[in-house]
Symmetry: C3
Subunit: 340 residues, 3 copies
């Protein structure tokens, strides 16, 4: 059970109502009125708790679970223990996510503007907002309705933040236009100058960075991630994209819709990611490249060339997955030959 000091549970649900919320179906109709009080991992769930099997790696935990109910794929129903009620679905993890959201809805503190926040007179704050102590909102910033600006966050002059935005503690934003339902995690840095300079015998000459950061609706940006503003064009993050912690995104980068960028990846200036691109952790992408729709890049890869739509690549320098695996195999054979 989640620590009640940090998380507030809404109510209990019958399996029937959970099926309606998640589009799962009951394996046994007679369990429709069974009550679920909470969610829990397979190995810790009790007879009133709901769990899920998604990663086949955990099938032994599933077979031994004491959970009162469990989301499971139709193909794996036979692995279930006798006393666990089954909610069958092709997408057990999505179903679990929706059920957990119902049990623990994300809430926001009651609307209030802390007298210890520092808000410029010319800033506009929408209705029903929370602004915490130590937050700074500068000249002419426009904050939408239902926004939550956490302690120590700094919203720069003329920045626009859409409705239902949440800016984490000590995050900073400047030179940015941000859509609705965007969440910025603690310490992320949005809109500072990109790394732009020209070489000159007298030293480096700074190139004024005259673009913005445009963040579309429904984006999440992780803790301590940095997104530089454009040099002339804008830097753009497409709707529904999720970005993890400690990611670097350079000036003029365009990230499409529903991309996933895992922790510590870095994208150099002016590169374009089409929609649904996935970058694994610690991936590095050179500047001025184009990654086609749905390209998937494995962790720690280094991209120096464009990637066609839908292609999976790996390695540093990155190659199509099959070619990469052949290289690894060839290298292993080479060692074995030399040993014998």
């Amino acid at each position: 059970m989640a620590d009640p000091r940090f998380f507030t549970k809404s109510q209990s649900f019958t399996l029937q109502s959970l099926c309606e919320i998640t589009a799962a179906r009951l394996h046994d109709q007679s369990s429709a009125d069974f009550q679920i009080e909470d969610v829990a991992p397979l190995d810790r769930a009790t007879s009133s708790e709901l769990s899920f099997l998604d990663n086949i790696r955990y099938k032994d935990q599933f077979s031994q679970t004491k959970a009162g109910a469990c989301f499971v794929h139709p193909d794996l129903v036979d692995l279930a223990p006798a006393n666990t009620n089954l909610l069958v679905t092709e997408a057990p993890y999505t179903a679990y996510a929706k059920a957990a959201q119902a049990l623990y809805p994300q809430t926001m503190p009651e609307a209030s503007i802390s007298p210890q926040a520092h808000i410029a007179d010319s800033a506009q704050i929408g209705n029903s907002c929370v602004v915490e102590a130590g937050a700074v909102i500068q000249d002419n910033a426009k904050i939408g309705d239902h926004c939550w600006i956490e302690a120590g966050a700094v919203i720069g002059s003329h920045v626009e933040l859409g409705d239902y935005g949440r800016v984490g503690p000590n995050a900073t934003i400047s030179h940015s236009i941000i859509g609705k339902h965007v969440r910025l995690y603690p310490g992320c840095r949005i809109g500072q100058d990109g790394f732009g300079f020209a070489m000159d015998p007298a030293g480096f000459v700074k190139v004024p960075q005259l673009g913005r950061v445009i963040i579309e609706d429904g984006v999440e940006i992780g803790a301590n991630t940095t997104i530089d503003r454009g040099a002339g064009p804008d830097t753009v993050i497409g709707a529904g994209t999720w970005i993890d912690n400690l990611v670097q995104i350079g000036h003029n980068v365009k990230v499409g819709k529903c991309c996933v960028i895992v922790s510590q990846a870095g994208i150099s200036g002016s590169t374009v990611l089409e929609d649904f691109v996935v970058l694994g952790g610690q991936v590095g992408v050179a500047g001025h490249l184009h990654l086609g729709k749905g390209a998937r890049i494995a962790a720690q890869s280094g991209l120096m060339r464009n990637v066609p739509a839908g292609e999976e690549q790996m390695g540093s320098p990155a190659q199509p997955m099959k070619q990469y695996l052949r290289q690894v195999a060839a290298l292993n054979r080479l060692i074995k030959t030399k040993k014998s």
Copy 2:
């Protein structure tokens, strides 16, 4: 055109005056009085706007540009469209940078100390400074003239910041002596203890970190970058060096003058970079190494040995560029052989 909410244009310029500012020369003297109102990228510039061709990758955009004028290398003049005035120079990007600086000069808000800043009585603040709301300046810190301390920045006890310094929002500094014209981006961390401990059967024993961070004139340090202070000697960043976002610099590191360190690179303790060294993105450098003057290390490389002056290296572990490329080629032949 740059968003006027975020950027303030100074005035228009004739091509003649732009030539004086940038040391470019007119391709056609009759265009001397042509007026430039703004800068813009090649593909978006209009007939009153100035652009540039630097990367040959963009030559098609150049041939089709509607820009009123364009900086271009003498060898590429023939690719220009008929209606674009040409400013010819061997360094088009530098010239563009200087012109853009003239059109959009970097300005600072009018001098003022926010009553919502937290400044110790013993701190010294120079003339004509801006200190924003929520900034903290601690005991005996010395801030030079014309400095800009942004919201939520924390300047620790006895830190010295030279004239024309700018400390971004929520950046923190301790145990540091900082020169003139230094810019620290949002969230960078300067001067905290290095990662120093000795192993002992009873656990790790912390080694007191008794050095400082010395930052010379004209340095830029990116967002969320971390620079640890020395363990006994100082950590030093040489004049005119540019450091990108999310870089790690360990204790006792000496970085020379006019080095470039790209995002997410990391330098372990006590390593020395001579002047003009370039580290690509995500490069890792082991401790106690020496990188000679002008060494250039490609992105994602891992350095475990010293690098001679002027040498270009790549790979993990890094090797001289030619050797690295031979390895990649050999590996590719190996796969082809096995396939056939």
Copy 3:
């Protein structure tokens, strides 16, 4: 000598008393009353200063040092210059650490709660604490005795911080239970939501992150490091573990006791590190893995499989050290063959 503006020296010590503090022994008993005023590196130490030889790379500096006294391993005593008193020990670096701690004891400012800190009425602050200007302590947070909350740090609702905790400037904590003698460096982010979502035709579905971060006693966490809270189980950092700057630790990760995680390493969700594991800089670890007790992973390695206890691995993908070195050698032979 350490800059007295930043570091306060306690007193001078005789070699006899330093031997008692560090368990070293005098090479020459007649030097027992020799006075040590300070510590310094080998190449800068003077006749009243104490230094150490730990890394054999510095043996020439040792042979030429002017230091009044030096910690040294018994096997290297013969390399010493005539005028330097020797303190002999099998662990010279540990001995130096303890001596330096005696000369420069870590101190905390006099207890005081800044009137410019923002502390919720329901928060509990222990005895003898320092809370600096701009710090924010939210509802029901519990801070132990002798804690030091630096400027701009944000301690979220219901967070517990044990005695002798120190939270650096602009660090943020939420959803966490933290032990005694824990030190969090500037800008680290503890307890935010992990990167958890399910794919759905309608977009990503957020998985509520219902766990906490548990940090045991004596842990140090570096600047701008990010540790996400658990998704259901907790994220746990074991007692005595040291984590460097810019490290990413995903949700549900369990780190054992006395582990060392070097800068810019990243650990994906649900992975387990047993006690005494060492991760080098920029190492990446995939999710759901198990690293046995005392496993050692070289810098920039990429782990995609479990690692047995005590094993040393290197490479991306990582392999046992011997196998990795054979691969590097085989590749080098391959190039030489092709050249001839």
